[in-house]
């Protein structure tokens, strides 16, 4: 028995050989397993976004088995007593059922919502990492644009998703979205009617949003994500400077097994955090908001966080609109269409704009430290300041209530901050970059140990050098030489 087993190759090897006889994949797979990935904590941000997306797909698929995208009127008779006997749409009722009647439904729904919140947050932080380290420079401009497209799609899908339950809060959000579409010059009225299927509230919007949310946008994101990863794979990852790291090499750990293990581990930990949030932190409790009716709205209506900057922009934009030749360009066009249009266009074009400013058209694989590029860092800080101010402006009503200040004073404060604060933070960032670059700060020194001497004085002695310091980082070697 043992001899028989020993004489034949192990089962895995036989499967591998059978496959290779048909696909001749050995060379490609081997080079893939040997591929080197640079290690840095900030390179995990994009992975967190990707793994949140995987969680979104898994939990979202589960939810589609129970959600009914219909505006048909039904009367609730389920276990949640406060809503018993209330008229509502099937979309709202099925979401209530997922929350209270489907076993494991509530935790799935909340993990899904949290995953969306984290997904867009992780993309944003990932974009900041890529921006401030200059990872978008040649040859990675295309992947930057693919990434910006995914950010836009993620925001659109987040909005579509939380609009599906047809609760009072999201219905108000849809009403605002409809008004913004109406305001677009020339095509606005027709677009709103074609998208919503008629004047608001039209009966087809939830079923259409459902198709957008579960099929069209996810398919686009999957396609773009595949392209994003394939381009990254082909171009190889950027890396920070350090011992043995040059423009012509990649230093890090091999895909198989070290990087694969760490990445699978990161997926599990991301999913674990989302599961903990989904179980313990209530999110979007639509049973409190109640079903949507066009004539009602609750006070303190705020959208999900990633829509906050647009809501804030709607609030601080002055009450002007353009009327010419018997036509109107509505007020909401400027903060609701023009602002995001300009935002994402400038974001997508940044690599080309920067190359033009700096005249630097060379390929780069080594990353910048933000301090070494004061202009770019200052621009990024100014932009972030602007959008954070707009985001905070989405809470003007809440701030007015809590701080006992008049709404007028708060709106004017935010108008001033939106225009005045970005130049100030940009100047501060620029200054800090210059001073940090000139000083030795940030080059990590081993900590000093303060020792009291026998005669009562104090003496500072440097401790043993840190293992991670570049000074004692081992010299990188080719993979094959280490066996």
């Amino acid at each position: 028995m043992t001899t028989d087993k020993d004489s034949r190759p192990p089962r895995l090897a036989r499967v591998a050989r059978w496959t290779d006889d048909r696909l001749a994949a050995s060379r490609f797979v081997r080079s893939a397993l040997d591929k080197i990935f640079p290690d840095h904590w900030s390179f995990m941000l994009g992975e967190i976004a990707m793994y949140s997306f995987v969680v979104l797909l898994l939990t979202g698929t589960y939810l589609t088995f129970f959600f009914v995208p219909s505006l048909r009127d039904v009367v609730y008779q389920g276990p949640y007593a406060p809503l018993r006997g209330v008229h509502m749409t099937e979309a709202y009722k099925s979401t209530i059922d997922i929350s209270f009647s489907v076993r494991a439904g509530l935790v799935m729904r909340q993990i899904h919502h949290w995953a969306a919140i984290v997904f867009i947050g992780a993309i944003l932080v990932h974009v900041c990492r890529v921006f401030f380290t200059g990872a978008f420079r040649r040859p990675r401009e295309l992947n930057w644009i693919v990434g910006v497209a995914m950010l836009v799609l993620a925001i659109v899908n987040g909005f579509a998703g939380y609009s599906l339950p047809d609760d009072l809060l999201s219905g108000t959000g849809l009403r605002v979205a409809y008004s913004i579409i109406l305001s677009v010059p020339v095509v606005g009225t027709w677009s709103a009617f074609l998208i919503f299927g008629g004047a608001y509230p039209a009966s087809s919007i939830i079923s259409r949003l459902f198709v957008v949310h579960i099929l069209i946008v996810p398919a686009l994101i999957v396609g773009l994500l595949t392209a994003h990863l394939a381009i990254m794979w082909h171009q190889k990852h950027t890396q920070f400077g350090g011992r043995g790291r040059t423009e012509d090499n990649v230093v890090g750990s091999p895909l198989w097994p070290s990087y694969a293990a760490k990445s699978v581990g990161l997926f599990s930990i991301t999913a674990a955090v989302l599961a903990a949030l989904g179980g313990l932190a209530q999110v979007n409790p639509i049973w409190i908001y109640g079903p949507y009716t066009p004539a009602q709205v609750s006070s303190a209506s705020q959208p999900d966080w990633y829509m906050g900057w647009l809501d804030g922009a709607l609030r601080v934009w002055p009450n002007v609109e353009i009327r010419l030749f018997h036509h109107t360009v509505g007020n909401t066009f400027f903060p609701g269409v023009l602002l995001p249009g300009i935002t994402f266009t400038l974001l997508a074009l940044w690599p080309f704009l920067e190359a033009r400013f700096t005249g630097d058209h060379e390929p780069h694989h080594l990353l910048d430290r933000p301090r070494d590029r004061p202009f770019r860092t200052a621009m990024g800080v100014a932009a972030l300041t602007f959008y954070v101010v707009l985001f905070a402006a989405a809470g003007t009503d809440v701030l007015a209530v809590y701080l006992h200040i008049s709404e007028n004073a708060i709106i004017w404060t935010f108008r001033a901050l939106a225009l005045g604060l970005p130049p100030i933070t940009a100047w501060v960032a620029h200054r800090l970059c210059r001073e940090l670059a000139a000083s030795k700060a940030g080059k990590r020194q081993p900590p000093n140990i303060i020792v009291r001497t026998p005669d009562g004085g104090y003496d500072a002695r440097p401790s043993a050098p840190l293992r991670t310091d570049s000074g004692i980082e081992p010299e990188p070697t080719p993979l094959s030489e280490r066996g």
């Binding site: 509530l106 040859p139 108000t172 605002v176 008004s179 109406l182 305001s183 010059p185 020339v186 095509v187 009617f193 074609l194 998208i195 299927g197 008629g198 004047a199 039209a202 190889k236 012509d248 090499n249 990649v250 230093v251 890090g252 750990s253 091999p254 070290s258 990087y259 694969a260 293990a261 699978v264 581990g265 990161l266 599990s268 930990i269 999913a271 674990a272 955090v273 599961a275 903990a276 989904g278 313990l280 066009p294 004539a295 709205v297 709607l314 609030r315 934009w317 009450n319 036509h327 109107t328 360009v329 007020n331 909401t332 709404e407 709106i411 980082e473 081992p474 990188p476 070697t477 080719p478």
Partner: protein, 283 residues
């Protein structure tokens, strides 16, 4: 009594992570089978995934080859020969297409015509806006009803009271929602020409904000102002709901109302201007 071998401790920790994952996963199945409980499910799933993630990550970090390893980065641009070869290959087709200009133009025409024809089905997605944005369901003599369908009289509301009202038989017409405010006991002239619009101090305004279409629901009697809770536009009730603060660019349209022979509040006609937010072909 020797010190533990280097490498024993990570192994123990990794094993602990996997054991936590096994226990939590089994407990998760148990919670589901015994009826389910959202918080417990979330925590146990987090523990199962967290134990797994911790174990695999630590395995990768402490017990697998770390390097650092080095790999050459190949030039990303193609060589001049490759580019020339590509150019030659492409020219093969370019020549074949380029030579027959008539066929090429007809091909472009066919593709364009097909593309154009395929645009038309988009039209089926929605109706022609027509006059739907400029007219509501209010007619001359439409009686006012509240959300429950009850008719209103001029004294149904106390002074300072408000109600959301619709034209009778159209309580589902979202564009016809009106906020009825009993601002006073005597008629109020909010604008010249609106002398007869407010029987016994009842004012009727479109409830749809002229900014982004939210229902303008908050009435402050002391200041006689209406507040939109979405973006905080403020309207002056006594001056024709003129916007006094916030992003709303226009007044809320006022509905001319009267009292009919039976004492019920009725509309004198439809709004004299479109309700709700602006749109392109709004004059």
């Amino acid at each position: 009594m020797t010190e533990p071998q280097p490498g024993r401790r990570p192994e123990q920790l990794i094993a602990l992570g996997f054991i936590v994952a096994i226990v939590a996963a089994l407990a998760l199945a148990g919670v589901y089978l015994s009826g389910g409980q959202a918080q417990a499910e979330g925590v146990l799933l987090a523990l199962a995934l967290g134990g797994l993630g911790f174990g695999i990550t630590a395995w990768g970090k402490y017990l697998m080859p770390q390097g650092p390893y080095i790999q050459a980065r190949e030039e990303l641009t193609s060589t001049p020969e490759e580019r020339r070869a590509f150019g030659a290959a492409f020219e093969r087709g370019e020549a074949a297409f380029g030579r027959r200009a008539l066929l090429r133009r007809l091909l472009a025409g066919a593709a364009g015509a097909l593309g154009l024809a395929l645009v038309f089905p988009i039209r089926s997605l929605g109706p022609n806006p027509g006059r739907s944005l400029v007219a509501t369901s209010w007619r001359r003599g439409s009686r006012m009803v509240d959300l429950d369908g009850k008719l209103l009289r001029a004294d149904t509301l106390e002074v300072g009271g408000v109600a959301t009202v619709f034209p009778e038989g159209h309580t589902d017409a979202a564009d016809s929602q009106v906020l009825l405010i009993r601002a006073s006991d005597a008629p109020i002239v909010t604008r010249p020409g609106r002398e007869t619009w407010s029987p016994r101090g009842n004012l009727a305004y479109s409830k749809i904000c002229t900014h982004a279409g939210c229902p303008v629901g908050l009435y402050q009697q002391q200041t006689q102002q209406l507040l939109c809770p979405c973006h905080q536009s403020l309207f002056d009730v006594l001056r024709g709901a003129k916007p006094v603060f916030g992003p709303a660019p226009r007044s809320l349209p006022q509905l001319p109302i009267a009292v009919d022979d039976s004492g019920y509040l009725v509309a004198q006609g439809d709004f004299t201007e479109p309700v709700g937010p602006s749109f392109w072909n709004r004059r």
